[in-house]
Every structure is written in C-alpha cells, then in structure tokens.
C-alpha cells in the first residue's frame, strides 16, 4: 500500500451520479436500505451506513463528502481509549473492540464525519476508512469510490501527487477554479483534497468560520501537558499551606499556654 494515500475530488467534474456511494456501500458491506437519518441531524446524506455522500448545491454543483483523513485528526486525539486510530500509512480507522461509545470523536471532528448507529443497543461509530483493510491487503489498488467514478471526478494517489495535480489544474484553468486547494492546509492539512469552482467551506461546521490552518489537537495538548506540574504544584501548595497554618496555630496555642502558665506562676 502506498504511503500517504490521498483522494482528490474535482467538484467541477462531478455529475452527481452517486456511483461512489453505491461502491462504498458494496465494499464495506453496508445495507442499501439503511435506517432513515436521525431527526435533528444535518441532512447532508451521511449516516452510519452511508460513509460518503453527494451534496447538491445550486447550479448543478455536486460535492462529495467523506472523511478527510486529517494529517492531525482531532477525532484520534480526543478518543480517550485510542479506538480511533491514525494508521502509519495515513488513513484514520476505528476499532470497535476498544471503543467506549463516548462520541467525543463525533463532537471533535470539524467536518461532522463520524456517525453513530443510534438504533442499535450495541452501537459503533462509523465513517469512511479510506478502504484501508482492502488497500492494505492489496485486494484493490484504489478505494472503491474512486474506482467507480465514471468521470474521474475523484482520483487517488499519494498526497504529493494529488497536490501537484490539483495545483496543475488550478494553473491550467485559473478562471474556472477558485484558487485554493481545500484540505491543503486547513486544520493542518487533510488527505482528501478538493478543487472547486464554488467555496467548500460549508463542509465544515459553522461554515468553516473558526477553522484555521493550525491543527486542532495542540489546542488541548497545550493544556494537558501541564497537568503533571499542576498536579504536583497543587499538592505542594496545599501541603505547605497546611503546614504553615498548622504551625502558626500551634505556636499561638503554645504562646497562649505560656501566657496562662506565666500568669499562674505570678499568682503563686
């Protein structure tokens, strides 16, 4: 399997046929007739048994949505038990055997990718895994969704190749594309890139307003790495405070005792 596998999707080439969706369902053995989406969830078409979807935007723009396989994935960093994992090659996968079901990964993903099997009493978190098991076993040489695309709107290669290809397209037709590779830098870079003629910020929560190019996990780590010091520091402060206050009280008691005994002596 190649290092840093990456998918590049060209929104201008997608015709919205959803062959990728069907292929993904097939290779991952997902039911064709899944449960209807949960009421109150964003109607983008993703669900626990639909890991990629095509979002329809006005003027015949079709935007495929799937896990971005972030270079520094928030979902992996927040999982308390490490059930979400970044594989050495790059894809972000999930291990049901370890998961607690806390759904922190779902909260932390800036794109709202992980979905939950709400109707099961033994639920899993589900999302695109970049066909990792099949790619790794060498059963396929590109993800099923990429292989299924009739217009090559979505292509596969190493991240460097895909970035080069994206830049080439932007250069070749500067008037057609927005001059930006989505996923190049956002949240520290992702392994699913897009070029497009419309803005794709809507793929992230809050229309991408609060997303910077800085990766997300360091936001937590900046605080967490101080935890041992905080812990010991608080112990030392509390311990010494106790000692000081206790000593002062003792001294005061002794003084009081001395005074009273002194007075007693005097009296005699």
């Amino acid at each position: 399997m190649i290092e840093n596998p990456c998918i590049l999707t060209d929104v201008t080439k997608c015709i919205g046929c959803e062959q990728c969706v069907v292929a993904c369902k097939k290779i991952n053995d997902l039911p064709a007739n899944g449960a209807p989406p949960r009421p109150g969830s964003t109607p983008d078409g993703l669900s626990a048994d639909r890991w990629t979807t095509v979002i329809r935007k006005p003027d015949n723009h079709f935007v495929r949505k799937q896990c971005r396989h972030c270079l520094e994935p928030a979902c992996v960093s927040v999982c308390p038990v490490g059930a979400m994992q970044k594989t050495p090659e790059g894809p972000v996968i999930y291990d049901k055997k370890i998961c607690l079901g806390c759904r922190y990964c779902m909260m932390a993903c800036p794109y709202g990718i992980p979905h939950y099997e709400w109707d099961s009493p033994n639920p899993s978190v589900r999302k695109c895994i970049l066909c990792y098991p099949s790619l790794k076993a060498g059963k396929i040489d590109k993800p099923a969704c990429v292989a299924a695309c009739p217009t090559q709107a979505t292509i596969f290669g190493t991240r460097d190749e895909m970035l080069a290809e994206a830049r080439k397209r932007l250069r070749a037709e500067p008037s057609k594309y927005v001059q930006k590779v989505w996923g190049e830098n956002q949240v520290g870079g992702t392994s699913v890139l897009y070029v497009s003629d419309i803005s794709l910020d809507f793929l992230a929560w809050g229309d991408g307003r609060e997303l910077s190019d800085k990766p997300l996990p360091p936001l937590t780590w900046a605080v967490l790495k101080a935890v041992p010091f905080e812990f010991v520091g608080m112990g030392v402060i509390m311990g010494s405070l106790y000692w000081i206050i206790e000593r002062r009280r003792k001294l005061m008691d002794e003084k009081a005792a001395a005074c009273t005994s002194g007075e007693d002596n005097h009296g005699q």
Partner: protein, 612 residues
C-alpha cells in the same frame, strides 16, 4: 414522624427514581436511539451537559469545603464539611451512573484503565473522576465508622484523612479544569462567547464558586426539610466567601472577553448573546452583588434563593458551553426527549434518597442525627395518638412510610414501562421476483403491486437512468415511491420536475428561457432537456430528469394496464382452474371502497371480468 414536608419530598424522589428505573430498561435493551433525542449532529445532550458537566461542577463543594476546613482551618464551617463531602461522593457517583447511561458501550468503560490516550482530555477526566471517587469513598468512611464498634479502623481512617484530603483537592483541580479543556478542541462548535483558551481556568474558578453556593443550598434545604434551626452564622460566612469568589470569576470572565475583543458581541442582541447575559446575571452578577450586602446575609430566604439562583446559572453555563451554544455552528436545535429528563432527574433523586438515608443513620451532621433519632424514639415509644391526617397520609413511623415509598416507586415504574418509547423496526420494501417483473410488497400490511422494472427502465432512458428513481440521497435510501410519477389516481402526470426547474432558474421571470415568448405559455414549444443539458445528461439524476414529453399514466391505469391483461389470460387457462382470477375481487377485496368505486364507474368491465 409528623413531617409532611420531608415525607412528600421523599415520595417525589421515589417516584422519579421509579420512572428512571423504567426508562433505564428501555435505554439498555433498545439503545440510545429510542431513548434520546440525540443525533449525529448533536451527539452530546442532556446527559453530558447536565449529568456529567453539571454534576461534576455541582459536586465541587466537596473539595472546596475540604480545603476551607482542613487546610485553611476555618473551623466555623466544620458542620458543613461532612455533608459537603458526602454530597460530593454521591454527586460523583451520579456522574458515573449518568455516564453509563450516555456511553454507547458502557460495558467497555473499564477500557480507560488499560487503553491510554494521554492526548485526550476525556482520558484525564476519566482517570481523575475514577481516582477522586475512590478518594471520596475514603473521606466518607470515617463518617460511617464513627459510631460503629470498628474503632480501630475508624482511627486509622481519621489519621489517613489529611493526605487523602490533599490528594482529593489535587485531583479536583485537575478534572474540574479538564472539563473545560475538553471543549478546547472545538472552536468551530462552541460559540465564541463561551469559547476561550482560558476555558480550563474559567471552569476551575466557577467550580469553586459553585461548590460554595451548593453547600449553602444543601444546608438551607436540609434545615428546611428537617425543620431545624438554620446555621445562620455559617451561612453568612459562606455567603461572603461566595460573593468574593463570584467577583473573582466575574472579573476573570469579563477580562477574558475584553482580551479577545468579544465584549461587543455580548450586546449584539442575538438570542445566544442574550442567553449569555442571562447566564451571567443568574450565576454571577445578581448573587455576587446581593450576597455582598449584610442585610441579605442576615436573611435565610435571601441566602437560600440567591444560592439557588447561582447554582441554576452555573448549571446553565455548563449546558450552554457543552451543547446549547453549539447550535450556532450546527444550526440544528436539540431538545432532550422526556426519557432523557426522566433519567437525569431519577439519578439526582436516587442520590438525594441515599443522602437522606446516610444522614439519618450516620453522624454526617451530629445535630441532625440527634434530632432524627430523638424523633424516631419518641414515635416508637409513644402510644399511637389519633391523628387522622397523619394516619391517612403519613402512616406512623418509618415502617409505614417505607411501604408507601415502595408503593410509589413501583407505581412510577409501572407507569414508566407503559409510557416508555418502543423501538419501531425500519420497514423495507420487500421485492418478490415474478416472471419478468417484480411483485413489490409495500409497507407492513399485505399490500402488493405489480411492478415492471424493465419497462420503467426502458422508458426512463435505459441503463443510465437508475438514479431517476433510486436516488440514494432520499431518506432511508429507498426507491422513489410510485406516486411521485403516477401522481394522480385518474390523470396522467408529467415526470418532468417543473417546480425544481423554476426554482433553479430563479423564479417566474425565467419562463421565457424555456417556453420562448409564445403567449399563452404552452408545453409544446418548450425546449427539450438536451437543449440545455448538453454535456451533463450522462445519467438522469434527481435534479436532471429525462423529459421528452414523457407522461406517466395515472396510478389506476398504470396498475390496470399491467395487471388485467395477464389476469384475464390466466383465467382463460383451463389447466390452471382459476376462473376467478380475472375478477376485480381477485385484487380488490370485494366490498372495499376501491371495488365499489370501480364497479360504479365501469359496470360493463366488471361484468366482463366476472364472465371470464
């Protein structure tokens, strides 16, 4: 035990606990889907916002009082320390139970001990809560042992108390702030008014405030329930402490907003900004200002109500930060299901009951215990006096009360079990293969239609037209229902999606784009699909539909044309010996509305059908 207040309060707690027990059965047997209103967009709801985030903060009284009494030696608060620590213990117990309800795979909760991800704030919270629960258990033990024969063990635990207290304070500092750290990774979800890099510090300071006001609430409520003299001096002292702590929090919070340049955002009038103002007023500003007044600190009601007000405000803060404020980003509103409320309240109720149980039997608060014991002794010694009201409602003594309570519990449980939501299975359309076509079963009942797939495919434009009906983007991924094209029972319909085109082309002004300038506007001169969709007609899809004056027959005709010829033919087949196949009643149950309407409309056909 002529204390109606206490009796009614306990009764209410038993009812809530019973209801929660019923909902618990549903939650664990059918999953989170039926028992909550959570969704993929709002994966954390009331159970995290209130039970976990709020619960941990509410139980902060334990470490605050431990520090005040045992480290700073403020001895006049001694009476509050034991109840506060007991509350903290029960509170953390409640958090753990609440978490079990919320986790999708609660039986894996122990995984946190063997699988480590030190980069996760939740991992740290999990460990701290686990350790702190143990510490609290050790802190509570002396209370339980004090009046038992195990005096040696008791003295051992008393000696252990100080290091344990300090350990507890250390752990609390960490996880109270780590609850804030948990939100740091979501700048894109948490509303800017709540999001700050100082969230851990803010959570820690507000936990201290909440700890103090919570001890006030607890002390006032127990003295009210047990009809005891409130400990005014201690309460006034706590009120002063609270006022100072709240002022610190207020300065921090405002300073933080100022630093980030978000102060103007507070007054922008949006509902979230107003929510923020309400939260700050309730939790901080009002109690801070009023509790600073000596007159208020002399009034039992004043202190009681202000403490409650502050508690409410801080719980609201936790709920806002961990959920409600995120509506800003997700644009999806979540309101908890009643079952979620039932569980949350039930857990609190169960904790309150355990608190009463321990408080009435062990020296949590020696005055209280003495009073309760005296009452019980008096009651059991005294000959039953005639007290009609008491006998009907209260029973005499605890034995009768216990009976009433368990009755209430079972009653609530039974009610809950009937009212609890049940999982609805997802019904899939089942297709049964028949010769050349399919018989589709529609819905759960015995309703079948004959569906010629090939004919539909050919008419819709061949092998590339699948998406026309099987748009996978539809709810539940089902195929388009028949009525979408065969819209009218008796009239044929165009399968061209006119509305979608008008909408896409920006309204009425666009008519001429397709229909030309001819007056009146008619179908005939309109453009063909291919005139606009020259490139992207590769496959028909839900947006682009094939239109070359394609008309779908009326629903009735579609069915009849497909069914009747074959039926009539088979009825003639003597070998089959099924002469009735051609009768309307073969499909339309005789006597149904459909058959009556049909026979009334076409008497001659019906007769023909019967003859064949």
């Amino acid at each position: 035990m002529d204390n109606r207040r206490l009796f009614l309060f306990k009764g209410l707690m038993w009812i809530l606990a019973g209801l929660a027990a019923a909902v618990a059965i549903v939650r664990f047997s059918l999953g989170l889907g039926v028992s909550t209103a959570l969704s993929d967009t709002t994966p954390w709801g009331l159970w995290i916002g209130f039970d976990v985030m709020g619960g941990v903060a509410l139980a902060a009284g334990g470490f605050v009082m431990a520090a005040v009494v045992h480290i700073f030696h403020r001895d006049r608060y001694h009476a509050a320390a034991r109840p506060a620590i007991l509350t903290a213990f029960l509170g953390y117990g409640a958090v753990a139970v609440g978490l079990l309800f919320d986790l999708g795979l609660p039986w894996n909760i122990w995984h946190a001990t063997i699988y480590w991800n030190i980069h996760s704030a939740l991992f740290e919270v999990a460990w701290c809560v686990m350790l702190y629960l143990t510490v609290l258990a050790l802190e509570v033990t002396p209370t339980i042992l004090e009046r038992t024969p195990f005096q040696k063990t008791y003295r051992f635990f008393v000696k252990l108390a100080l290091p344990i207290m300090i350990l507890g304070i250390m752990l609390s500092t960490l996880h109270q702030s780590s609850l804030g750290t948990m939100l740091l990774i979501m700048p894109f979800r948490v509303h800017p008014l709540w999001y700050s890099h100082l969230l851990p510090e803010l959570f820690f300071v507000s936990a201290i405030c909440l700890g103090i006001v919570m001890v006030m609430v607890e002390s006032t409520v127990t003295s009210w329930l047990y009809r005891r003299e409130p400990e005014m001096e201690m309460l006034a002292g706590l009120a002063r402490l609270a006022s100072i702590a709240l002022a610190c929090y207020f300065v921090m919070k405002m300073g933080d907003l100022l630093r980030q340049g978000k102060l103007a955002m507070v007054f922008d009038g949006s509902w979230l900004a107003n929510l923020f103002i309400a939260e700050m007023l309730l939790s901080t500003v009002i109690p801070m200002v009023l509790l600073a007044l000596p007159a208020v600190r002399r009034s039992f009601t004043g202190m009681w109500s202000l403490a409650c007000c502050s508690v409410l405000g801080f719980v609201l803060d936790r709920i806002n930060a961990s959920g409600l404020s995120q509506v800003w980003a997700t644009r999806r509103f979540y309101f908890p299901a009643w079952t979620e409320f039932a569980i949350s309240l039930g857990i609190v109720a169960a904790c309150v009951l355990v608190f009463f149980f321990i408080q009435e039997r062990f020296p949590v608060d020696p005055h209280g215990l003495a009073q309760v014991e005296a009452e019980r002794k008096a009651l059991e010694a005294a000959p039953p006096a005639f007290a009609p009201f008491a006998q009907v409602w209260l029973g005499e003594g605890w034995r009768k009360a216990a009976k009433v309570y368990s009755f209430l519990f079972v009653l609530a449980l039974a009610f809950g079990l009937t009212a609890a939501p049940k999982a609805e299975p997802v019904v899939n359309t089942r297709a049964v293969r028949a010769v050349g076509a399919s018989i589709l079963q529609i819905g759960p009942g015995p309703r079948y239609v004959y569906f010629d797939h090939k004919k539909h495919q050919d008419e819709a434009g061949g092998s590339k037209s699948c998406a026309l009906c099987h748009h996978l983007h539809q709810k539940g991924d089902v195929g388009t229902p028949c009525v979408v094209c065969h819209e009218n029972m008796f009239l044929r319909t165009s399968i061209f999606n006119h509305e979608a085109h008008v909408a896409d082309l920006h309204g009425n002004a666009s008519c001429v784009q397709c229909h030309g300038k001819s007056e009146p506007i008619r179908v005939a001169p309109a453009k063909k699909c291919s005139q606009c969709h020259d490139k992207d007609m590769m496959a028909a899809n839900p947006v682009v539909k094939v239109f070359d004056s394609k008309w779908a027959p009326s629903y009735k005709d579609a069915m009849h044309k497909m069914c009747i010829p074959c039926h009539v033919e088979k009825a003639k087949d003597a070998a089959l010996k099924l002469p009735n196949l051609g009768r309307c009643g073969a499909c339309h149950d005789s006597g149904t509305q459909a058959e009556k309407a049909y026979t009334a409309e076409f008497p001659e056909k019906t007769a023909a059908g019967e003859r064949s």
